[in-house]
């Protein structure tokens, strides 16, 4: 067994059994990241990573395993829109080149407090604006299943790193699908929690009423460990919800439904299938894998029924009015005065602002700032921004009506497989990119939790290797534990999440699977 493709619980076993030290584990991933040619990482600092690994190993050596966090000594990569004190944070933008945060984001501090070892920062679309990781100022990131294709976005570096075995876990942020869509396209598991679950303190803000961070890893069980550590009330974020601390992995072992049995662990679970998620826009290769996954879920006892989300299509214009509006306000802080790029060509303050911003922001960010300014401007505010907010309310009400009939909603994550990088760069059609977000935007607008997990492979029309397909589960607010419990049952019955992309030829630390399975572990799953 190659440790690079192990789950967090398998790595926990290896660490606890002394088969590998936290330093060796971190070094193995650092070596892989340094040799990477996919473009997953934007910043590495091996000395700092090793410092954290040594501290984690001391905890493993001295603290009793009972009561110790299951995450001690496990490595993680952070998306570059999440600030880290030790590593530069660019948000994928030239305007923040060399920016160093004087503090850690709350979620970074929480994971570090649990003993996680930071491997560095992952590539992403500039300010998380994009669905393909093609809007990073520091180069494209490639899909490990086919390096001529996108990894999805905006958390593309995080997803590609986990899929390629360059990190066992990563953080992402999801404003309109930026955790779920790259997770689907790279064949990993990711969850966007309910809005307000994880503190936004230290997230470089894009659209504040939508932004939410979450974990990306190899399995639902791994995501449950990470989410449990990341979530919780933070007084520094006024939108962080003050809810009781939860173990998001509790339904991995407890029954998901009262009627569950060992052979029918999802018996009694009502899964809603929105007709709008299975319309003509859905590619046949994605449809095939999703329908096969639905058969598996039925086989596990779940009941599938049709539900109606009539405003699904309107979620695209609603999102692409609201998010740019909030972005145009949030990004006004980048003025070339307090931090970030300052133009060398400015004689007065106005020119300093305008030139610094024009030089520092990439084309997609400038486009969204201008659209946001337009929809907020005098004479257009009611027609666009206010109207989008009303449509947002209708979309949230549609979900409420659907959840009166079903427990969870199931469908595809993205209408298509990962698309080719070259064609996308050549055509450069923002509207076509926006349309591809159709199945993820509405849950974001409503603030609902959404999970993406691998459910099969599809063959691209244009040829090339088969590519992963993701299945999306959307739950009512605060129902993350159930999403993870259902996904775990699916992953116990299938092995899509254990598939690895073709290795680029580097071998890391390895053990036989018997060694790992035979070792005692308090947290194996």
């Amino acid at each position: 067994m190659d440790l690079r493709f192990s789950t967090l619980s398998e790595l926990r076993t290896a660490l606890d059994a002394g088969m590998v030290s936290a330093q060796e584990l971190a070094q193995d991933y650092l070596d892989a990241l340094e040799a990477d040619r996919l473009g997953v990482a934007l910043a590495l600092d091996p000395d700092r990573t090793q410092e954290q690994a040594r501290a984690a190993q001391r905890r493993i050596d001295t603290e009793p395993a009972e009561g110790r966090s299951p995450l001690v000594g496990l490595p993680i990569l952070h998306k570059d829109v999440i600030v880290t004190e030790g590593w530069p944070t660019t948000a994928g933008s030239k305007i923040l080149q060399n920016y160093r945060s004087p503090f850690d984001a709350e979620l970074v501090a929480r994971l570090a407090g649990q003993g996680m070892v930071c491997l560095g920062k992952s590539n992403c679309d500039e300010f998380a604006m994009g669905s393909a990781n093609l809007h990073s100022a520091y180069g494209v990131c490639r899909n490990p299943w086919d390096p001529t294709r996108i990894p999805g976005g905006s958390s593309g570096g995080s997803a590609a790193a986990v899929a390629a075995g360059l990190a066992p876990a990563a953080t992402g942020t999801d404003t309109g699908g930026s955790i779920r869509q790259p997770a689907a396209m790279c064949g990993i598991t990711g969850i966007k929690p309910s809005y307000g679950r994880i503190s936004r303190w230290g997230l470089v803000a894009y659209a504040s009423s939508l932004d939410q961070a979450g974990p990306m890893a190899r399995s639902a069980a791994d995501c449950a460990w990470l989410l449990t550590a990341m979530a919780g009330h933070d007084p520094k974020d006024s939108t962080s919800l003050d809810l009781p601390q939860e173990d998001f992995g509790r339904l991995l072992t407890e029954p998901v439904t009262p009627a569950a049995s060992p052979s029918q662990p999802l018996k009694g679970l009502r899964l809603g299938l929105p007709g709008q998620y299975f319309g003509p826009g859905l590619s046949e290769s994605v449809r095939g894998a999703v329908e096969a996954a639905l058969s598996v879920l039925r086989g596990l006892g779940a009941e599938c029924l049709e539900v109606d989300l009539p405003r699904t299509e309107l979620s695209i214009p609603a999102y692409y009015v609201i998010a740019p509006a909030e972005a145009s306000s949030n990004l006004s802080r980048f003025d070339g005065v307090r931090y970030g790029h300052r133009s060398a060509h400015a004689q007065d303050l106005q020119a300093l602002y305008r030139n610094s911003r024009a030089e520092g922001f990439g084309p997609e960010v400038r486009r969204r700032i201008l659209v946001g300014t337009f929809v907020l401007s005098h004479g257009y505010y009611d027609a666009y921004y206010l109207q989008a907010q009303k449509v947002r309310r209708l979309i949230a009400q549609d979900f409420q009506a659907a959840f009166a009939q079903c427990d969870l909603i199931v469908g595809p994550v993205s209408p298509s497989l990962a698309w080719p990088i070259e064609a996308s760069q050549r055509i450069n059609d923002p509207l076509a990119d926006y349309l591809a977000d159709i199945y993820t935007l509405s849950a974001s607008l409503a603030g609902l939790p959404g999970l993406s997990m691998p459910c099969g492979f599809g063959q691209p029309h244009s040829g090339g290797p088969d590519l992963p397909v993701g299945l999306q589960l959307i739950g009512p607010q605060f129902d993350e534990a159930r999403l993870l419990g259902v996904a775990h049952r699916f992953q116990q019955a299938t092995d899509w999440h254990r598939r690895c992309p073709p290795a680029p030829g580097s071998a890391g630390l390895s053990f036989t699977s018997e060694q790992v399975v035979a070792s005692p572990s308090k947290g194996a799953h």
């Binding site: 809005y195 214009p317 006004s332 486009r367 700032i369």
Partner: protein, 93 residues
């Protein structure tokens, strides 16, 4: 949207425009705005705008002093500073 409107938006957004920007941005912005017109298909009479997923009111806290990172750390990212202050081009003649 015409060039004049684009210039006004760019001024409000504090973005300088090049000739290439004017050529490329105008059709893209017009397409996005036309497409956003689709929002008017939905009957929204009597629907309250939803600004946020949760209907929260602003939380108040005790007015207590808390530690912040030291000033020199906060200033370390400034492109130009002097005596602990940000330096900008002359504003008042």
């Amino acid at each position: 949207m015409d060039v004049q409107q684009l210039e006004k938006l760019a001024l409000l957004s504090r973005l300088a425009l090049t000739d290439d920007d004017r050529r490329d941005l105008l059709p893209a912005l017009n397409a996005i705005v036309q497409w956003a017109d689709g929002l008017h298909q939905a009957p929204t009479e009597g629907i309250a705008p939803m600004a946020h997923p949760h209907d929260l009111s602003l939380r108040l806290r005790e007015d207590q002093a808390a530690a912040l990172p030291p000033r020199d750390q906060l200033m370390a990212n400034a492109p130009q500073s002097a005596q602990g202050l940000f330096v900008v081009p002359r504003v008042v003649e």
